[in-house]
């Protein structure tokens, strides 16, 4: 398993990051906080825009993050082709996926044809560049908090 520090360092090395926030961000509440809070925190720390898929966009209106309501399949298609309009003008170097069922995330990553990916869920994703091992939701939340902390320590962006 990649440690939070390793993941944070890897993210810091990529200036062009896109976050894909799936519908679980709008429905799943982890033991301490809703998943959407972690998506927002990641976006703020990484200064990365959010492609809000599912119904996630509704929950981001009151935040200050840069986001657009998009559809997951179209985002993957745009990543393959280059820019992810209206969020980026060129292909992201790393895509962070949060809020997708593991086997959905596995397929989204497979569709990216090799783009670096970090999948944040409670299951290992074999095709992703980085992911957590199988763990409980509580452990997953601990990983998320550690990651956000490490990103902050890396200086964020």
């Amino acid at each position: 398993m990649n440690s939070a520090k390793e993941i944070a360092q890897s993210l810091a090395a990529n200036p062009n990051i896109l976050i894909m926030a799936g519908d679980l961000c709008s429905t799943l509440t982890l033991p301490e906080r809703p998943l959407i809070d972690y998506a927002v925190a990641l976006s703020e720390k990484l200064k990365a825009p959010i492609a809000a898929t599912g119904n996630t966009a509704i929950h981001l209106d009151d935040t200050k993050v840069t986001f657009a309501k998009m559809w997951a399949a179209e985002v993957i298609d745009y990543i393959r082709e280059g820019a992810v309009k209206p969020l980026t003008d060129k292909a992201p170097e790393c895509v962070v996926l949060i809020g997708y069922q593991p086997y959905v995330a596995e397929r989204l990553v497979a569709g990216m044809n090799g783009t670096k990916s970090l999948v944040l869920c409670n299951s290992h994703i074999p095709g992703a560049t980085m992911s957590y091992p199988d763990c409980s939701l509580g452990e997953f939340e601990t990983h998320l908090k550690s990651l956000i902390n490490e990103i902050s320590q890396e200086g964020g962006k």
Binding site: T27, Y103, N122
Partner: protein
């Protein structure tokens, strides 16, 4: 006989100009060498052709020989079989060989009005089918249309015959694969060829299942009724609208079982061919996709055959026998379905899966024995939908995906199961319940002992005494046994006690169940409470469970989670009551003609189909989606398991179930249930009928033109919500091939692993041929996608509204599509979509009541220029701001103008 020329070493062969000449051509006289000289023997039995002195015997054919050059040989008008190459006289060549030719050099023409059409220019190979082609042209083509286009028909089409259409689709909607990466794929991931091959295998496997089931039905009908049995959907359909998908692929107008069997043989041969091709090494991804399209069409063909058999041979109710005026409420929405409506004091006989013959025959047994009303006849999945169409007292219980919910409850005395569209461990599910199982299919025998040849009484006795399951492959026998066992069996209709608290206490809160669950149900907290006796949270979660069993596969302590849910959900099941409207079969010409006006002039956003296998995020979700679409005036079709879920939707305001609330004629603001799983073809047929009746496009052997018209002009979308079985995958492909976009979801939609996406930003894809002057025109990205996954019902509905728009929309229709799309997007996402302006060509296409507001949005968000109520400048796809007149000169298809994606369908210039 030729005369050998006098030897003349200086004279060369005038044909090859290389070798010395030795002979001369008997026709044109040129000098020939031995190599260039061809000898023909003319052999004819006709006395008129006998040549005296040549034939050695009156018993032998007269033979004349000629020497000809190759040019004269090719031009010689010889009748087949009468002229053959003369045998070589040299001894070392062995016995003479006779060439056989199957070429048919006769001219085949048909006169249509004043025009004579060459059939051989229209059809790739007309041998054996010229009569059929003549019938098509004379019955279904107007002279004007036949002379307007480069007319091509493809009877008994193979995938290669239709590749001009498939390529047109695939160049616009790229296949995008998401097959999970395997270790052997390497760092570049799986190749497109591997993914396309796997995608094709998924579709063709489902084709095999449906064809096999249809073949069993056909064989039974042939044996019982004979090949002359008349086949039609009812009184109403005419040649024009009889069975479009069947007509489009084969060209046959089916009159009887013999004709229908030809269609089935064609379908089976195509499936075999494509299945064989999946093994071909070195095949390209593009080719596999074309074959995949064809397989998708073929599954609908099998469904069409099955539907025709069920209606014509077995008397399933059909709208085609009804007075069109009665269709608004026909069949009556009065069927009381759901486990809550089942009389548990009666024997309960349940049929499951694609079993058609067993329930049909069982009902005949029940009727003949005077047992109507004395046995409950229920159905799960397709069996349930079909039962209501021949036995109004039947009851639908549950979808195929959620079958466990019913089977695990123990309410069923006898379960009869045929083919199933998805994996289900039936014997394990009913273990301990006392339900007796009769399997009836060679493809789903459940490992049960084959009692087909045993005496009926012995099988009944054993089942009543305690044998839990048998295989009986004879449907008549199976039906008899099922009814008899149901009558005789005395058992408590309950499942064994499940100690939920004890099972819940084993939970270790690893949350692996949540990781595998299609609905991401978080179980660990509910399990912890249940372990202490508080079942409330578990009961609440049960509503979202689709009983797929993936959680059980991942559960580390091995808790039988479905059993737990089934136990806590027993009250919900036993109280579940809803009203079904039985399926009606085909849509009629009268309805199609009435729809056309609404479709074209914007009274409705469009026609939609809502299909499901049952794996939605909740049991209420499909009904909510149906209500949303019908309330916006869509004509909404459904069939199969989806109809059952939709039926559960109840309006607190109207105090009615949804089928009671909305009309059933295929008109605006109606909810049309076509029937069971095979009735899905009625939806595709209905879509194609509009092309025929509204656009005068003949369907017979004319798939390409039908699909081109449908795709470019007609406002259709299919939402497949809950697509766990692979059959849904094959059907989505079939719809897409017909030019109808499909939105799939929820989570199971992301397991399709292959989508057909068009990028709205890539303007290179979005063009059409102007059908009159042949110019290439840029058009809006519509329909944007052909197979597209959505995560939530809000995404699905919003994208569906987007996908209803077409480049050939007239002004009023376009205004309705724009309004509906924006409205839906704002309802769910509280903002404007970022692409609605791509459908706008003038201010007249903005809905009147919102025009000024939308003009403001165009100005402020899209950078267009307006002057009062008028658009003066629009921003093109290249981002440049141009005068609106200029914009319309280069972008979009002029209102009312014909356009096409197929170059040969550009009107011929005189």
């Amino acid at each position: 006989m030729s005369e050998a020329l006098a030897t003349n070493e200086e004279r060369l062969c005038e044909f090859c100009k290389a070798n010395p000449a030795a002979k001369a051509c008997d026709v044109c006289g040129i000098a020939l060498c031995d190599i260039c000289a061809q000898e023909i023997a003319f052999e004819d039995m006709s006395p008129a052709y006998r040549v005296k002195g040549v034939s050695a015997s009156v018993m032998k054919a007269a033979v004349t020989k000629k020497t000809v050059c190759r040019k004269c040989m090719a031009e010689m008008d010889v009748d087949q079989g009468k002229a053959k190459a003369a045998p070589k006289e040299a001894e070392d060549l062995g016995p003479a060989l006779e060439a056989v030719s199957f070429k048919d050099t006769r001219k085949h023409t048909v006169r249509l009005g004043k025009t004579v059409l060459d059939i051989d220019a229209i059809v790739p190979d007309s041998r054996g089918i010229t009569d059929m082609i003549e019938e098509i042209i004379l019955n279904d083509w107007g002279e004007g249309r036949a002379t307007q286009f480069d007319l091509k028909l493809f009877p008994f089409a193979s995938w290669a015959d239709l590749n001009e259409w498939d390529e047109a689709l695939l160049t616009r909607h790229s296949p995008r694969y998401s097959t999970p990466v395997l270790p052997e794929d390497g760092k570049n991931g799986a190749s497109d060829e591997r993914r396309a091959r796997e995608s094709l295998i998924k579709t063709i496997k489902e084709c095999m299942t449906v064809y096999s089931t249809t073949r069993e039905l056909m064989n039974f009908a042939m044996k019982a009724l004979g090949p002359e049995k008349v086949i039609k959907y009812g009184k109403a359909p005419t040649f024009a609208d009889a069975h479009p998908i069947l007509a489009a692929l084969t060209g046959i107008y089916v009159k009887n079982l013999r004709d229908l069997e030809k269609v089935l043989v064609y379908g089976e041969s195509q499936v075999i061919e494509i299945a064989a091709a999946t093994r071909a090494p070195g095949e390209t991804a593009a080719r596999f996709e074309q074959m995949n399209f064809h397989a998708g069409s073929l599954i609908f063909l099998a469904m069409e055959i099955a539907e025709l058999l069920k209606i014509a041979c077995f008397g399933l109710i059909t709208a085609a026998d009804q007075d069109p005026k009665a269709l608004a409420d026909w069949p009556a929405a009065t069927n009381e379905s759901g486990a809550g409506n089942v009389n548990a004091s009666l024997p309960i006989l349940t049929f499951m899966g694609d079993a058609f013959l067993p329930p049909f025959l069982a009902v005949q047994e029940i009727i003949s024995r005077g047992l109507v009303g004395k046995i409950e006849v229920c159905g799960i999945g397709p069996a349930g939908d079909d039962i209501l169409r021949f036995y109004p007292k039947g009851r639908v219980l549950e979808t195929m995906v959620r079958a466990y919910r019913v089977l695990g409850s123990g309410m069923t005395d006898v379960l009869v199961i045929g083919d199933v569209c998805m994996k289900s461990d039936i014997m394990k599910t009913v273990a301990g319940t006392g339900t007796r199982v009769i399997a009836t299919s060679r493809k789903n025998s459940l490992g049960l002992p084959d009692r087909t040849r045993d005496l009926t009484d012995n099988v009944v006795k054993d089942l009543v005494a305690g044998t839990m399951g048998v295989l009986v492959l004879d449907p008549e026998k199976a039906a008899e046994i099922a009814v008899e066992v149901a009558v005789k069996l005395k058992r408590e209709k309950t499942a064994p006690f499940v100690d939920v608290a004890n099972l819940a206490s084993k939970c270790v809160s690893c949350d692996m169940c949540t990781a595998r669950c299609p609905n991401s149900i978080v179980l660990s907290g509910a399990m912890a409470k249940a372990a202490k006796g508080d079942m409330a949270e578990l009961k609440g979660l049960e509503e979202r469970c689709v009983y797929c069993g993936r959680c059980e596969e991942a559960c580390r302590p091995g808790i039988p989670i479905r059993q737990v849910f089934s136990a806590v959900g027993r009250d919900a099941l036993s109280n579940e009551k809803f009203i079904m409207r039985p399926g009606r079969g085909p849509v009629l010409e009268t309805e199609v003609r009435a729809q056309a006006f609404s479709l074209v002039f914007g009274n409705i956003p469009g026609m939609a189909a809502l299909i499901s296998c049952g794996d939605t995020t909740s049991r209420q979700e499909l009904g909510e989606m149906a209500r949303e679409m019908v309330s916006r005036n869509c004509i909404l079709f459904t069939a199969g398991c989806g109809a059952q879920d939709i039926a559960k939707n109840f309006s607190e305001k109207e105090k009615e179930f949804i089928f009671e609330e909305f009309g059933s004629a295929a008109l605006a603001r109606s909810l049309v249930n076509c029937g069971g799983c095979t009735s899905n073809v009625q939806i595709l047929d209905e879509f194609f009928k509009v092309a025929r009746l509204g656009g005068a496009v003949s369907s017979y052997a004319n798939y390409v033109e039908m699909a081109d018209y449908t795709y470019n002009r007609l406002n259709y979308v299919v939402v497949m919500w809950g697509v766990m079985p692979d059959r849904a995958y094959a059907m989505a492909t079939g719809y897409a091939r017909g030019g109808i976009p499909v939105v799939v979801g929820p989570t199971s939609g992301f397991e399709f692993d292959r989508y057909l996406l068009g990028s709205k930003h890539d303007k290179e894809r979005w063009w059409m041929w102007d059908g009159l002057d042949g110019r290439k025109r840029d058009v809006e990205p519509a329909p944007r996608h052909l197979i597209f996954p959505a995560e939530t019902k809000e995404e699905a509905l919003t994208m569906a509204m987007n996908l209803l728009t077409r480049p050939l929309d007239l002004r009023d229709g376009r205004a309705t599509h724009i309004e509906t799309y924006i409205d839906m997007f704002q309802k769910f996402y509280k903002k404007f979509p970022d692409d609605w302006q791509s459908f706008v060509r003038s201010e007249h296409e903005l809905p009147v009541m919102k025009r000024m507001k939308l003009l403001k949005v165009l100005r402020e968000q899209q950078g267009w220029e307006t002057d009062g109520p008028r658009i003066t400048k629009a921003r093109g796809t290249d981002g440049k701001l141009v005068d609106i007149e200029e914009y319309n000169k280069v972008y979009g298809i002029e209102q009312g103008r014909y356009a096409t994606r197929i170059q040969r369908l550009i009107t011929k210039q005189k």
